[in-house]
Symmetry: C2
Subunit: 315 residues, 2 copies
Amino acid sequence: MNYIGIDIGGMSAKAGIVDENGNILFKRFVETNSEITSDEFEALMAKLVLGLIGDAKLTLADIVGVGLGFPGSIYGEKGIVRYCCNLNLKKVPFADELKKLLGEKIEVKIGNDANLATLAETKFGAAKGAKNTILFTLGTGVGSGFVSDGKLVTGNLSAGAEGGHTVLRIGGVKCGCGRRGCFEAYASATALLRQTKESAEKNPQSLLAQMIVESGLNGKTVFDAAKAGDKTANAVVKKYIKYVGEGVTNFVNIFFPEVVIIGGGVSNQGDYLIKPLQKFVSSHLYGKQYNPKVKVVRAALGNDAGIIGAAALFM
Amino acid sequence: MNYIGIDIGGMSAKAGIVDENGNILFKRFVETNSEITSDEFEALMAKLVLGLIGDAKLTLADIVGVGLGFPGSIYGEKGIVRYCCNLNLKKVPFADELKKLLGEKIEVKIGNDANLATLAETKFGAAKGAKNTILFTLGTGVGSGFVSDGKLVTGNLSAGAEGGHTVLRIGGVKCGCGRRGCFEAYASATALLRQTKESAEKNPQSLLAQMIVESGLNGKTVFDAAKAGDKTANAVVKKYIKYVGEGVTNFVNIFFPEVVIIGGGVSNQGDYLIKPLQKFVSSHLYGKQYNPKVKVVRAALGNDAGIIGAAALFM
């Protein structure tokens, strides 16, 4: 069986033909931007689908369905893109309109990108075989997805699963959503950059501060300085992992998954992040004396999770 | 159709024969305590079931099943009571053993009491007809239950749904679960008593402080003083509602339910609590410009929710 999955971002859309085992057989991508109208966007996606089918020397009849993941608020059941921060799409019945452009010959489904990545990692990736999983992407923001008893938790009109926007510190740092103290404001890569910068400014003699002066600041800087033995950097990393750990433990107590999946740019630190995070979660979760263990792992599908998850809408 | 539901607490077990519309036809109760062994407890429940059937002039054959709700960690799928704080039950295969005592003639299922109350309120009570609901009982602790797309979210081995144990203030007030700053430590009736006491001590001239000296302190005191116009009491109530509101909004952003149900002793304040809470949640939830509205309501089934929810395990 062949499926098409498309992972839409603010700057590009990556599409793939995916088989029933989650393997990507062919890939193609196009650039997108926030100026394109919804009509143009739909035409672009139709062209992308047809191009990909051509690459694979298939026809529409060979494809079970086309799934698309959007970075925004999606009403999956009705195929409506409600709102996307970085795209010019508002209340667009995207699934129906793309279906029309493709000649009504094929099913089209849409979903939120973090939810679809969770689906992909649960079916084919880091949490294969688990029935309850939660995923967090630690990037520009904190994306999240929750699978309970094999099904995505999306809420009324698929408006939920916004785990990044749960307050971890009442009255804390201002978050983009309007509240103060959200998980995202402490655990995103953006938050880590802020924490790193603040700490370097307070400790100008530290290796961390020197590294920033010499090579600039990015999401890796504080980890590199910590691995080189810098105390200031070590303290920043330790505190950051506590923030992530407190947030993740909250969701463990709610969903009690077999597996917690960590993705996004910060997860490139691998065991250096995952091991202390596992330790924090295991020692803080509710009823550790009598409750089952919870595994914390790094996402396994990387940038392909979005394509595979979008295709998995039909599996 | 007739069902039996039993709501087990630390001091009593209340049983009822429930019809398919959630009406309780007959009721009976027995006293329990933390000294009774698991064998004795099972015998007591068997007697309770048979007594109730006798009251109703029915036989076991007239009953679809017996459901029991426990205040603790329950592995529902396997019928095992994993752990109950206030009862002498640890890793007991309760469902199987009660079934044996009843002569194997009837199905027995068990669940967590807050989850079952959520089920009852969703099927027959304050959120009748909704597919996504969340419930919080503001009492000695904060109990919680979550229904996503018509199904209870319970997690691996039913260990989840511990919404009271999610940190709302990192490093905050110590919670019974071992963490600091949990929702329960700010939003339970116990927490409200602590907040009331602290504020009265700081403001000995307030009406609130005088009322405590004259009539003692209970969960109503601060509301009574606030309604009488006392500024100190008003500030305590306002802050408490903010705590509850921040916590509830966190869960709204995760589950995006149609309805939030508030139960427990504090909910007896009715609109005085529910109205400002609704206002807080509506103005703080994620994406309020484009997301659906969320209704906050008081639990409708009161003390019967546990019986009806336990019976609803078979519906």
